[in-house]
Symmetry: C2
């Protein structure tokens, strides 16, 4: 099973060493964008419980900001790459994903994506080199004697089982409110929504705008942390749809103000998304389908309109559409009417709200909260120096053992030997019999 | 996958109806012997949490005793079978399993077991008839409007997936301290050891006997609730092995006192097994390998000698032998020396105690205790009228859909059509070409 790096969500790998009991030392190898947001929630909880947390990050990191917390240690290593290099690669990738599919044949599109992916992997490879060839850093890490490594694998292309085989425990950032039920191994736990919290108060200006919506309420709209700009044509299509609804709209958008923008819509460079989705006036959420946003909507029971852009987003939207809490529109081909109709339906047809509330009840009805489960497993691995009792034997098998080829080979060899022996015996008996008959005839 | 009724442990099936919120009405369809002991632990907890629990049992039940609790309701239905009929069938089954394998060829043994199993299934079928044809009882059950059914399926021979498909949630009476890691579906929870508790004080006479063992400590010996008698020869082999160890022995045994019984060994018709295994003087446990006894030993960290007798017991013992907490001896072929050596090894080689303590630590290090998880899921099914979000789509597929035969069939039909069309076209072109050539030649 090959692991598409793009569709893999937060998978936390823990390989554990040393000490046990009490508080431990945790080394963290984070990923960028939404993955870092989940990781931060776990790290804050670990620090609160008295663990010593060190995040290993490069000087070129986009979102991993050492100034966010005084209680988390940051080990920032120098790299020849710059933050701009990184952002350029991500930006090109996002642009290609979003706009190039309708422009080119599938093969050309695929090779363009592949080309940028290789550039991205080259960056990651350089970062890895900058760590392992940095003798001073490596010495420091080795003498630090960490109990556990928390890694967010976004990983050169590798196989799923190869990466999985090295981890003691996997924490998946989804749950069964969102996933389709399927078998999983005991060293996997589903901790989706671990970053969600009850809503806090909004900033005064925003609260006033939300309250001004009256009974119609508001719609929250965000395309996530990776997309900052859109083409003017698409922006106007979206804005003119939003202008036609009776709700007020809060739109997280960084680009030029579209000329079709209605008076009911306000643009924000940043929005307190979780607090907005938890606001009693919020009627719907327009989302690109990142798991973090979807989980905030599930947590607060808000129906959605999905505009998936790339990687795992079409999959994610397909899931919530199946659960009956969302409708999907296509970013590249939708008209204003398409978006308008989808919005009107999820807001006015009560079944969407009902399903969203049902999903929210399932999400909240867990014996232990996802964040506490994540922290429990990290501490478990430290306490027991691993989680060997949960590790399936499959990880220690070669591919021919996994497919029982050694057993089948042995059985085939047995059958072949038996057939060979029987044939030889028959042949021998037949020759003997033929000889005797010949002799008899001669006499 | 066919379900051997004998190897299936406590699988609690819940199909849920009606009401939600607060306290619910639970209907219980129990099984006999050790399964009933686990079920009782769950029912007591449910009653303590304010639920109304009704156990449906026949007048011929062996262990399900309406006098055990005033807070659990018992709906005892009349049946033409007697308790003796039931005990006879079980007794014959146990005798055949224990003694007949070495006496007969495997085929004869197998057909003897099969014959008694059919008698057993006949009894169960009669019980079922006695319920569904009892109009008064059925009316009463239907008007009672239960929220959930708790069933312990032992079940006519049926397929695993058929039974599984009907349940909202499955509670398996093992856990990963005991099981080999393998994939499982999200509507399965492993609640092994739910009946285990910290040890209570022993009866005075027993405590005195245990204390008299001094530093050597004691050995606890039980072959479970189903085996009440053994052949004289086997009993003497066992007794003479026990007579040779420096420990005192507490042996749960109902039969005639063996003449080789040593002064260090006392026979008891019943022992408080969990309290004995949790006693600080207990050095080892000799067990037939029922999951309840094994879990009490895991809970208290006690090494074991396994004498598996039938059904799932050889499997269970194989597991704990692999975990390094037990040795196995064969009931029919062991000599006194075999049993003696096994006992000496698990008591004197410290690795067995170390492994048992390690397993015990893993067992106790769970976020939520098994009994609380079992109760949570029962209440969850009542609150949400099922657990549909955990139900894999596989249960709604036919066998040919499950094996993708419909998809493969369709694809094969497509390929066949394409090949047929191409062949026809080629043939047509060839004929045309041949005709033209003939014409050309003629001209």
């Amino acid at each position: 099973m090959s692991m598409k790096w793009t569709s893999v969500l937060l998978l936390i790998q823990m390989s554990c060493y040393f000490r046990s009991g009490g508080c431990g030392k945790v080394l963290v190898w984070p990923a960028e964008y939404s993955h870092w947001l989940n990781m931060k929630a776990i790290l804050n909880e670990l620090v609160q419980r008295g663990h010593e947390v060190t995040v290993l990050t490069s000087s070129a990191s986009i979102l991993v900001d050492p100034s966010i917390s005084s209680s988390i240690k940051f080990e920032v290593y120098p790299t020849s790459l710059t933050k701009d290099d990184f952002e350029n690669v991500f930006g090109k990738l996002v642009d290609t994903w979003m706009y190039d599919l309708p422009k080119y044949s599938f093969l050309t599109y695929f090779s363009k994506v592949q080309e940028i992916l290789w550039k991205y992997f080259e960056c990651i490879r350089n970062l890895c080199k900058d760590i392992v060839l940095n003798k001073k850093l490596m010495d420091k890490l080795q003498t630090s004697k960490f109990d556990v490594i928390l890694a967010d694998p976004a990983g050169r292309p590798t196989t799923f089982s190869e990466t999985m085989g090295k981890a003691e425990m996997w924490l998946i950032r989804t749950y069964w409110d969102f996933e389709f039920p399927r078998p999983f191994l005991p060293n996997v736990d589903f901790v989706g929504g671990l970053h969600c919290k009850p809503a806090k108060d909004l900033p005064k200006e925003m609260e006033d705008f939300v309250q001004s919506s009256g009974e119609n309420g508001v719609v929250v709209f965000s395309l996530g942390s990776m997309v900052s700009d859109l083409t003017e044509e698409r922006v106007n299509v979206i804005a003119s749809a939003l202008a036609q609804i009776p709700q007020k709209v809060l739109w997280k958008f960084n680009g030029k103000k579209p000329h079709t923008l209605g008076p009911n819509t306000r643009l924000y460079k940043w929005i307190p998304q979780n607090d907005l989705l938890g606001h009693p006036k919020t009627k719907a959420f327009i989302t690109h389908g990142g798991t973090n946003g979807i989980y905030e909507a599930i947590y607060h029971g808000i129906p959605m309109v999905g505009i998936p852009l790339f990687v795992d987003q079409p999959d994610n939207i397909a899931r919530i559409v199946t659960k009956g809490v969302a409708l999907r529109v296509d970013f590249n081909t939708m008209s204003s009417t398409d978006l308008l109709n989808a919005l009107k339906t999820v807001i006015n047809d009560p079944i969407y709200k009902e399903n969203a509330v049902k999903l929210s009840r399932i999400h909240h009805d867990q014996l232990v909260k996802p964040l506490d489960r994540a922290v429990f497993w990290i501490e478990f691995v430290m306490r027991h120096k691993g989680a060997k009792h949960l590790r399936a034997a499959v990880h220690d098998l070669t591919w021919f053992q996994y497919h029982s080829l050694d057993v089948i080979g042995f059985l085939l060899a047995c059958v072949a030997t038996v057939i060979f022996t029987i044939t030889k015996c028959c042949l021998f008996c037949f020759q003997k019999f033929a000889k005797t008959r010949k002799k008899g005839k001669r006499e």
